[in-house]
């Protein structure tokens, strides 16, 4: 993805069919992705899809999936959107901060940071 070589970009286009945005409802960079159980045996998947299904057997944030795939976040999101449409993964719906980070979570985070 560096330099002038168009190869990687073309490959990325291939992965997403030229799409820059995922299908369906939008999701955050740190939305939790989970493989729907039993879906990993599907035969005709490309390697990137297999990787996602394998990694997300443990619920994994989108950013980490991108890291595993070594792909840009938005390409990763197109791939995730496709897998969701196929019913192979679930992606956490966006929630307001107030609903996700409550006092208990804050305390846990503080405690966790202090004991690093």
């Amino acid at each position: 993805m560096t330099g002038e070589d168009p190869g990687p970009l073309l490959r990325l286009f291939g992965l997403t069919g030229g799409r820059a945005r995922p299908q369906g409802e939008s999701f955050d960079l740190v939305a939790i992705v989970t493989t729907v159980s039993g879906s990993f045996e599907t035969a005709e998947l490309i390697p990137e899809h297999r990787t996602v299904l394998s990694v997300c057997r443990t619920p994994t944030p989108v950013a980490d999936v991108a890291a595993h795939l070594e792909l840009p976040l938005n390409i990763t999101r197109v791939i995730l959107g496709d897998l969701r449409r196929e019913g192979l993964i679930s992606i956490e719906r966006p929630r307001p901060v107030a609903q996700t980070i409550d006092e208990r979570i804050y305390r846990e985070v503080l405690h966790g940071l202090r004991s690093l």
């Binding site: 945005r21 939790i32 619920p59 966790g112 940071l113």
Partner: protein, 193 residues
């Protein structure tokens, strides 16, 4: 492989949570270093491919967007416990990528604005941004080698910061120092709950 009793996704999704903290500031101020100092993984570097039509486009149209540029995005991770992670995102430095911040800032716990006292102006845009959107933030003054220790009061005046906003002197290469910055931010953010 399969865990017999588990409802597809639902249960696990509800119990796992990833929290975003943004590290903002001017180019070369030490954002990536800060992420690297505290992250349990080597900071992951991804490049976002940006298209001319990447904002506000109807994504069901199937119209191919022309990818025109890439923007680097670094992030690191701190595991608080199983199923609770803190993600530190180093925000893109250049002003023309501001629109990316909206997405990064959405749902974020808060932000660290890294400041270099030699180029204090560089962090004005970040301070403005977080103030306008009501995202809790702290200002961390990175004290580079040989740089004078700065009086936080002077920094506060120069940045016209509200009295309540914490200012921390730090060294982004020091783990203990970065920890202090982050605990200051979380402590400050919790007051808004």
């Amino acid at each position: 492989m399969d865990y017999a009793a588990s409802e597809p996704g639902a249960t696990a999704v509800a119990s796992a949570l990833a929290i975003k903290i943004l590290i903002a500031g001017g180019f070369g101020v030490g954002k990536t270093t800060m992420v690297g100092t505290i992250s349990e993984i080597r900071p992951l570097h991804t490049e976002e491919l940006l298209s001319e039509r990447s904002v506000g486009v109807d994504d069901t149209s199937g119209v191919e967007s022309k990818i025109t540029t890439t923007v680097a995005l670094d992030f690191g991770r701190i595991t608080i416990r199983d199923g609770l992670w803190l993600y530190l995102f180093g925000t893109p430095g250049q002003d023309r990528f501001w629109f990316m911040w909206d997405e990064l800032a959405l749902g974020a716990l808060g932000a660290v604005v890294l400041a270099d006292t030699r180029r204090l102006d560089d962090c004005f845009p970040a301070v403005d941004y977080f103030e306008q959107r009501g995202v809790p933030f702290v200002v961390a003054v990175n004290c580079f080698d040989g740089a004078r220790r700065y009086d936080p009061a002077k920094v506060r005046r120069a940045l016209a910061l509200n009295e309540k906003i914490p200012i921390v002197l730090c060294d982004v290469r020091e783990r203990a120092s970065v920890k202090e910055v982050l605990t200051t931010l979380v402590t400050y953010a919790v007051k808004g709950v």
